[in-house]
Symmetry: C2
Subunit: 371 residues, 2 copies
């Protein structure tokens, strides 16, 4: 059949975590091909019960397709409102009430259908409902496909800080259908690319150069370009997570740009910046910080800025952000160890490391430059 | 010094869980001897921050003693109200708000000072605050000392079922000071003995016989008798937990009497029965069920009833409990696998196993006998 001949072949990346290992399936007809989707989901469902957790936007786009694939199971659908502000203990409580009211038991399987908010919240519900039930991620945003759905970080936000309440809990599998990206709003799509750029900076100079050379294809959401960056991103993330599941060491490099980024999100109030947008600016700040500490050669941050701009991402703070407020917001960041701030720096694209002993003046200089 | 010569020597039971192994210290001057207590706690506290989680009753009895032992640390105290109805998502949320307001970070250590409610809730907060921080259990009730503080089951209740929301999460250590039992109300003390009896039934016929022979000493809260039963109970629990941390198999035998017991608690409304009281009745029912299935020799349940009665525990349901309501309440129990109820039965004191294939008539007969 000609149509399917145009499709990218499905690929599998494995997250290697011993008896908690799981596959990430990457392709582009997972939601339109019910038989294919069912084939991927079936091994993850132990009993007869399934709870699909999604939001109103995604439910209307893909809810029916998922239901078709789940025929024969007892399926309940929990629909939350769309938005970062709903990644809260209130929604968590509502989800628990829902599962109890529908009498789900320990053999149930939760399926997260949506972006990072749906995935993080569903994962945390799965981690704690009856002390842990199975769950599957079907991420529908680029950010979720290349980052949040992989690695087992689950959480909800607290009014005083992002992801402050959560658990490390791995899914049974992740199904990435890149066709869902075609319906994504432009800002959200670009925000996802920020994390792809991050993988280039911290782990793969070749990927970084590839992104520089293929901006047009990425901006056009070209299927082959997407297949390449999603697979490479998942491979890098899987490798880092396998080396350090609970972030006691190397995994922290995945937070490049995030110490600044979380503070930016926090100060503006959740929902003002998209996570990836704040991370884009945060990465520019982290790049400048690396330069100020004379770790990264001068000019590299400019290169990073060019790439991010080319991918339609912001590279500067909005007016009116105060550097002391930034510092305070970073102090509340959960990556602060006993009051001492840790930062991820790069010594050159393709490599990154954590530092907690640095020139405080350099930090002040970077904040002054951006605020 | 003569006084300390009268004290029981401190003993250590280790819960063997690889890199999550931890000691249970058992003695009788942990809260009065600040230096001794500090010596046990210090290795568990990584940073400068400590959050003591307790309730109003226990805080007034032992709060000052714990504060003395923690001099030099930055200590915040979260005081919840005393009672099973406060083991809720509401209290959990309040505890999270407290830790955020006090700016606790990932190196904080939570110390649960109290009974099972405080311990279960604190453990769940520790498991999920910033995706997991260290915690210590200082159980002050017999139930918590011989059961809930050991093994890493943490949870809060949902209005529709006990312990429905939680995680498996191990403490850094458990400090059991048996002198706290002297101030325990009679009902709570007896309720703790129910779990001790359970260990005899499921794992140690010798312990069961010892309890029959030493009822007077136990009812008098004799220090040597308490030291014996606490240590033996912790040893049995530690052994079962080490064999099956996440209750995928053998650990379920610890729930002997609990499928009936949880239904009893649930039907009466939380707070009417003490957990151990409901378990006492539940064990008699589980014993009768084992007899009806011709697994346990006739007359053994009578022996169990005599022992429980001798230890001031209830052995029958209150009037007005309906057997169909009991069945329904058990169906919602989280030990129900895909609608099929599992039960723990005994083939003779000292041994227990899980069954899920049994004569439904026998279950009906037991319910009819008790309701």
């Amino acid at each position: 059949m000609e149509e399917s001949a145009l499709k990218q072949a499905w690929q599998t990346v494995t997250v290697d975590l011993g008896d908690r290992s799981y596959p990430i399936y990457i392709g582009d007809d997972g939601l339109s091909d019910a038989a294919k989707l069912r084939q991927m989901l079936q091994p993850c469902i132990r009993g007869q019960q399934v709870a699909v957790m999604t939001n109103d936007t995604v439910a209307s786009l893909y809810g029916d397709q998922l239901s078709t694939a789940l025929q024969g199971y007892s399926v309940d659908v929990f629909v939350m409102q769309d938005g970062e502000q709903y990644k809260s203990l209130e929604t968590y409580t509502a989800a628990m009430d829902f599962l109890m009211a529908k009498r789900h038991n320990r053999t149930t399987c939760l399926i997260a259908l949506g972006g990072g908010v749906v995935g993080d919240l569903t994962g945390f519900v799965a981690a704690t409902f009856q002390r842990g039930v199975d769950f599957v991620q079907i991420p529908t945003t680029l950010l979720a496909q290349v980052d949040s759905s992989v690695g087992g970080k689950t959480a909800v936000n607290h009014p005083a800080g992002k992801n402050m309440i959560g658990a490390f809990y791995q899914p049974q599998c992740v199904v990435v259908d890149s066709t869902t990206l075609q319906s994504l709003p432009a800002r959200e799509y670009a925000a996802g690319l920020a994390e792809v750029v991050k993988y280039g900076v911290i782990a793969d100079a070749e990927l970084f150069a590839w992104l520089e050379d293929n901006q047009a294809a990425l901006n056009a959401r070209d299927a082959a370009a997407l297949a390449h960056v999603i697979k490479r991103s998942c491979e890098i993330k899987a490798q880092v997570v396998a080396a350090d599941e609970r972030e006691s060491g190397i995994r922290a490099i995945l937070n490049f740009g995030h110490t600044f980024g979380h503070a930016i999100e926090n100060l503006a109030g959740y929902g003002t910046w998209l996570h990836g947008e704040a991370v884009a600016v945060g990465m520019v700040m982290a790049g400048r910080f690396s330069e100020c500490l004379q770790l990264l050669p001068q000019g590299q941050t400019e290169r990073l800025k060019q790439l991010l701009r080319g991918l339609q991402l912001p590279v500067a703070l909005q007016d009116g952000v105060d550097s002391s407020a930034m510092l305070q917001a970073m102090g509340m960041d959960k990556k602060a160890m006993d009051g001492k701030l840790r930062f991820i720096v790069t010594d050159g694209f393709g490599t990154a490391r954590v530092i907690d002993d640095y020139d405080r003046q350099a930090l002040q200089a970077v904040l002054a430059e951006f605020c």
